[in-house]
């Protein structure tokens, strides 16, 4: 499939996410901490539209040096895309599912050229 010009980079930086279809192939493009990432819009769990879900920061357990737990917190550095069908979470930077890392999203090639976001699937 040919490369596809998606939009000006500034537009995606502002939106943070854009999900597109190119000849029936659906891809979610994300901008996070200065980098672009692109993943196919199919959850490896049951095939849900993973990129159309909400984004949540990774949830962590707070454990002290004595192994005692003190509730949970959001990790502000780690953002996940969450499949809206069943809640399966994936790290937007790596595409790996959180926790046991059982699954991996299928990557798509994305880059910026002359200020335009280009997707090559």
């Amino acid at each position: 499939m040919a490369a596809t010009k998606i939009c000006p980079a500034s537009e995606l930086i502002s939106a943070g996410k854009k999900v597109v279809s190119i000849d029936g192939v659906e891809v979610g493009i994300f901008h996070l901490q200065g980098e672009f990432y692109a993943w196919h819009n199919r959850c490896p769990h049951q095939g849900g539209p993973v990129c159309q879900g909400r984004m949540f920061n990774l949830v962590e357990e707070v454990v002290d040096e004595n192994r005692c737990s003190h509730g949970r917190r959001f990790n502000d550095e780690r953002l996940n895309i969450v499949c809206p069908w069943h809640g399966t979470e994936f790290d937007i930077k790596t595409g790996k599912s959180t926790g046991a890392q059982r699954w991996m999203l299928r990557p798509a090639k994305v880059f910026v050229e002359e200020g335009q976001v280009i997707l090559d699937v």
């Binding site: 040919a2 490369a3 596809t4 279809s21 190119i22 159309q52 909400r54 069908w85 050229e113």
Partner: protein, 416 residues
């Protein structure tokens, strides 16, 4: 060549960038529908043995069907005058509704999508949209919050609300679409009232069986239920034990997460009832009575089969009605719904399906719109099943069990 001179494929921005509680079911399930087309489900009969609507959204309508004039009047006033109140007369867990995983699964939280069609009830349209998305020909629709009604502190209230709900269900949902069917709610804590429901509803359009909600502390083998089982057996229609959770159960008092509570609760209630059902010899007393065990998944069944068989061989005098091993009854006299089907160990799942004789005893269920719903693909994609076994599980077993026409019912195309 610079970017201005090159030719690019044209991207189309998806109309739903982020799913919310307002997203149309058709858009949310668009990928499932495309999968159905790709896999050729139009040639398959697909029966969804367990889906839900949210009856509390319509509770103000449902209380109009309460037969007791005093309680009906009170319920009407309650819903007319109270803001922020929950459904009149319903017990339950109020704010402990964490199924949507903290906002991650919006269709579990609510479905506020637009419905234009005013000729039928809104839930009919929502159900049709789900059937369209999942390529389902028949969808068994159950209530949701009423799954806790077996724990109601007022025994009579279970009867009154069950009777009101059943009448409303038949009038508003079942009459509107030949593909929407149900197993009517039995107020099991009051056996004579449950018998009356069987008498009244056995022949109603769209009523394909009877439902006992499993969260309750009633011994299913008690003599007070023998008349009920005989009546159900005579109708030829199955009885379902529909599982649910009950976080206030003392056995779950130490469990701090919905994850843990849900994993155990939905199984435990049916394990207890199944144990009593089998060891007390119900399948011997009522050999034609067909029982379905709903929404407990499947992994519990091999475990219980082995536990009961093991103990039975040492203590046969405590189960003198049995002529076969407990697992034989569980395999031959009982049916099971698939969802939520544990699929993390395919070897274990394959053995489970062999142990329950899935070719004849397993019924596909989606549990739509709940957070752990399964698409038909969960069955279709199993690598170790024959095509005939898949066809049986996805629809033909249900068609045979319920006496459904194995052809797709004449559809209603209006999904707006």
């Amino acid at each position: 060549m610079n970017i201005a001179e090159r030719k690019f494929a044209l991207p189309e921005e998806l109309p739903v960038q982020e799913v919310s509680t307002y997203t149309d079911t058709r858009q949310l399930l668009a990928r499932a529908k495309r999968e159905a087309v790709k896999k050729g489900y139009s040639d398959w009969l697909i029966c969804d043995m367990d889906a839900h609507h949210v009856e509390t959204v319509s509770w103000k309508e449902i209380v109009e069907y309460i037969e007791d004039p005093v309680l009906r009047f009170q319920a009407q006033l309650y819903h007319n005058e109270r803001h922020g109140g929950t459904a009149y007369g319903l017990n339950g867990d109020f704010g402990l509704r964490y199924q949507d995983v903290g906002g991650r699964i919006t269709h579990q939280a609510d479905r506020r999508e637009t419905v234009k069609n005013t000729k039928v009830h809104r839930d009919v349209v929502l159900t049709r949209r789900a059937m369209d998305g999942l390529a389902v020909d028949y969808m068994v629709v159950f209530p949701a919050n009423m799954l806790h009604l077996g724990l109601h502190p007022q025994q009579e209230m279970e009867v009154l609300l069950a009777r009101a709900y059943n009448r409303w269900m038949v009038e508003k949902l079942l009459s509107a679409d030949p593909g929407i069917v149900t197993l009517v709610y039995l107020p099991f804590n009051t056996p004579e009232a449950a018998c009356k429901i069987v008498e009244e509803y056995a022949d109603k359009k769209g009523v394909i069986g009877f439902c006992i909600t499993s969260v309750r502390h009633k011994p299913v083998h008690s003599n007070e239920y023998m008349r009920l089982y005989r009546m159900i057996e005579e109708t030829g229609k199955p009885v379902a034990f529909h599982a649910a959770y009950h976080w206030q159960d003392p056995s779950l008092a130490t469990v701090p997460t919905f994850l843990g509570m849900h994993a155990l609760g939905f199984v435990w209630c049916n394990m207890v009832h199944m144990t009593n059902w089998i060891l007390s010899g119900i399948p011997e007393k009522f050999p034609k009575l067909k029982s379905i065990w709903v929404e407990s998944g499947l992994a519990w069944i091999p475990a219980l089969m082995q536990r009961l068989d093991d103990q039975y061989l040492m203590r046969q005098s405590e189960a003198p009605l049995l002529k076969r091993m407990p697992s034989d009854y569980m395999r031959e006299n009982c049916w099971y719904t698939s969802q939520p089907m544990e699929r993390t160990n395919m070897k274990a799942l394959q053995l489970t399906l062999e142990m329950i004789n899935a070719d004849t005893q397993l019924l596909y269920a989606s549990d739509w719109p709940h957070f752990d719903f399964d698409t038909p693909g969960t069955i279709f994609d199993l690598p170790f099943l024959s095509e005939q076994a898949k066809r049986n599980i996805l629809g033909l077993n249900a068609a045979k069990l319920f006496g459904l026409d194995p052809r797709r019912p004449a559809g209603v195309e209006d999904l707006d």
